[in-house]
């Protein structure tokens, strides 16, 4: 049997961690950071000019900062286009087919992904190139600033570390090393260019030594130490970033796994409910097939008993009476099987109609009146006036009440009473059936809703009965989002309380 797709939608498999989005988001962050750097530099230069007894080459530094601002503005625009769906490729950036669309350079720049996990789309390639280019340009600008602010002598040189950290967050480990190398190259270009006189030296005239840039020992030591610092930083930062990334990927893999599991669970669930439905239908068919012949047998026997008893001997008549009674029991059982299968099959909610609780109660009372009289049990009902109608299956609800009242009558000794109370409490219809009957032993309570279960006490007290009544009650209640509670004291009586919401979400 094909379970078919469950009706409610399975949540889509979580998309590959939106690494591209993360990357693009971080590029935005980088741009904002750069604005802070520009502003901070301006502020610092201004403060340094007033506070520090040094000469500063304003025009050069302001030119560099202005270029940096312009460059940052352009980057902002480019990033916005990438965000919207790609530069240069027909706007189909986000739908890319995983890693194939990510080119060689981009693949080198982007952090590794786990095998089998598509992590990037084609947009990521552009973002990657953008990230790499930015960091390169930043290094260049920093070197330029350093050059105009005193070269290797300026403590600003340690700012190269920031770029390493940023690179380790955004890029792959190997790209981070490339960035560290580039940083060292730019630093060396400044330091060695000035040392050999290829570049002019803009000295920070003031308290500092002015010839440090010409000291080979100092320049060598600075470059060596800075180089080591850059590479150690690249190693440490990218190690941490890699570990974090791996953890992220674990989460992706795990959520995939969970989504798959959920899907197969839901499929199993659908299969089970289809099997249950098939069982119900089978039951309904069987019961239905039994009904016709049984009804005819009973009618035939009734005709003999009621219309032509004089044609048979008294002994024969007695046998026919027994057969008639047993045929009746059989008819009751098939009737209950039908009710149960109907309640379980669940009449479509679309077929629900408004049911008046008072009418429901009256019909149930009428159905039971005769049996109660026969059993010598006094049957009474207290129904609150002006109850709103309830949305439900009238036949199912009728079966429910008839079964509860039927049990109360069946298991109450002569002279006892059975009472039906119907009232509304806080948006719910409450129907209570209380009797002074034999009660249900505590150990049997959990099983009374099982199909065909009858407690020993019940079987001894009333041999007939199918054991389907409470199963029908339960099935009808499930269909109406109702609830039930049963209190019972053996030998004293039972109270069953059923609650059904007047309205519920269809």
């Amino acid at each position: 049997m094909d379970g078919g797709k469950p009706e409610h939608s399975i949540p889509e498999k979580p998309r590959a961690l939106p690494a591209t989005e993360v990357l693009i988001g971080r590029l935005g962050w980088l741009i904002r950071l750069r604005w802070v750097a520009v502003g901070g530099s301006l502020f610092f230069v201004e403060v340094a000019r007033r506070v520090l007894p040094i000469h500063i080459y304003f025009s050069q530094i302001f030119t560099v900062l202005g270029m940096l601002a312009l460059y940052n503005m352009i980057l902002g625009l480019v990033l916005r286009r990438v965000r919207r769906g790609g530069v240069g490729d027909s706007g189909n950036g986000s739908g890319g087919e995983g890693e194939e669309s990510v080119g060689g350079v981009a693949r080198f720049i982007l952090p590794r992904t786990l095998p089998g996990v598509e992590y990037y789309d084609s947009k990521a390639a552009q973002a990657a190139l953008l990230a790499g280019a930015q960091i390169g340009f930043d290094l260049f600008f920093l070197a330029l600033l350093l050059h105009f602010a005193g070269g290797i002598e300026n403590p600003l040189r340690v700012f190269f570390l920031f770029h390493i950290i940023i690179a380790s967050i955004l890029l792959s480990r190997q790209a981070t090393y490339v960035v560290a190398t580039a940083g060292l190259v730019f630093l060396s270009a400044v330091a060695l260019g000035e040392f050999w006189g290829i570049l002019p030296h803009y000295a920070l005239e003031g308290h500092w030594r002015l010839d440090g840039y010409l000291d080979p020992g100092l320049v060598g030591a600075q470059l060596f130490l800075l180089g080591v610092t850059l590479f150690v930083a690249a190693y440490l930062a990218s190690s941490i970033a890699a570990r974090l990334r791996r953890r992220e990927l674990d989460v992706v893999v795990l959520s995939r796994y969970l989504a798959d599991k959920t899907e197969s669970l839901e499929a199993t669930c659908a299969e089970l409910s289809a099997a249950e439905e098939a069982k119900s239908q089978y039951m309904r068919k069987v019961a239905h097939e039994l009904r016709g012949p049984l009804g005819t047998i009973r009618t035939a026997l009734t005709v003999v008993l009621e219309m032509m008893p004089e044609t048979v001997a008294e002994k024969t008549l007695d046998l026919i009476r027994r057969a008639h009674r047993r045929a009746g029991e059989l008819a009751d059982i098939t009737q209950e099987l039908l009710s149960l299968s109907r309640a379980k099959g669940g009449r479509a909610v679309a077929d629900f109609t408004l049911v008046e609780p008072a009418v429901l109660a009256r019909h149930a009372m009428e159905r039971l009146e005769f049996r109660a009289e026969e059993a010598g049990v006094s049957l009474s009902a207290e129904v609150e006036g002006e109850l709103p109608a309830i949305l439900g299956d009238p036949e199912g609800l009728g079966d429910l009440l008839a079964n509860l009242l039927g049990n109360a009558v069946r298991y109450t000794p002569k002279g006892g009473s059975a009472t039906l109370r119907v009232h509304g409490v806080g948006g719910r219809l409450v129907m209570e059936v209380e009797d002074t009957g034999i009660g249900i032993p505590k150990e049997d309570l959990p099983r009374i809703f099982d199909e065909f279960f009858r407690s020993k006490v019940a079987r001894e007290f009333a041999p007939d009965g199918s054991g389907l009544g409470m199963a029908i009650v339960k099935a009808v209640l499930e269909h109406h989002e109702g609830s039930i509670s049963v209190e019972s004291a053996p030998g004293e009586g039972t109270r069953v309380r059923v609650e059904i919401p007047f309205e519920f979400d269809l």
Binding site: R284, H288, R291, G292, L294, G295, T296, R298, T299, A300, T302, V303, E306, M307, A331, Q335, L338, S339, S341, R342, G345, R347, D351, E395, D399
Partner: protein, 143 residues
């Protein structure tokens, strides 16, 4: 009216037809029978019964209903007026509608099945006989 009251009994269960025929003949009714929808219609035309006792289910789930609609939608007043008693297993799980489809043309949607009485299955002979008397009394009174 001349002679006996004629009743058309329609049910696919031949045993039940025989038993109920016996019961009704015992009360001096004349009984003709049919075992499916097309027989029911041709018998109704040929025999012009005073009353029709019609099983709801028959072999196909709604055949009885179709017979009702077929008869009631005919022009001749006899078919519109002939009293019908449905044999139903009213508590049975069915998707049956006791009112016609919209677009049927003859009855507005939501109107109840145009029959005069119902008798539950399994049939209690006494109840059927009482229902026969009740319906016949009303229909002869109205003529």
């Amino acid at each position: 009216m001349e002679g006996k009251t004629k009743i058309l009994l329609v049910d696919d269960d031949q045993d039940l037809v025989d038993i109920l025929t016996m019961v009704m003949e015992g009360r001096n009714y004349e009984v003709v029978s049919a075992k499916d929808a097309s027989q029911a219609l041709s018998q109704a035309e040929a025999e012009r019964p005073d009353l029709i006792v019609l099983d709801v289910m028959m072999p196909e789930a709604t055949e009885g209903f179709h017979v009702v609609w077929d008869l009631r939608s005919r022009k001749e007043t006899y078919f519109q007026d002939v009293p019908i008693i449905m044999l139903t297993a009213i508590h049975e799980a069915t998707p049956l509608r006791f009112y016609p489809d919209s677009g049927d043309g003859t009855y507005s949607p939501g109107e109840y099945l145009p029959v005069q009485g119902f008798v539950d299955k399994p049939v209690e002979p006494e109840i059927l006989l009482k229902e026969l008397e009740r319906v016949l009394a009303i229909s002869s009174g109205s003529r």
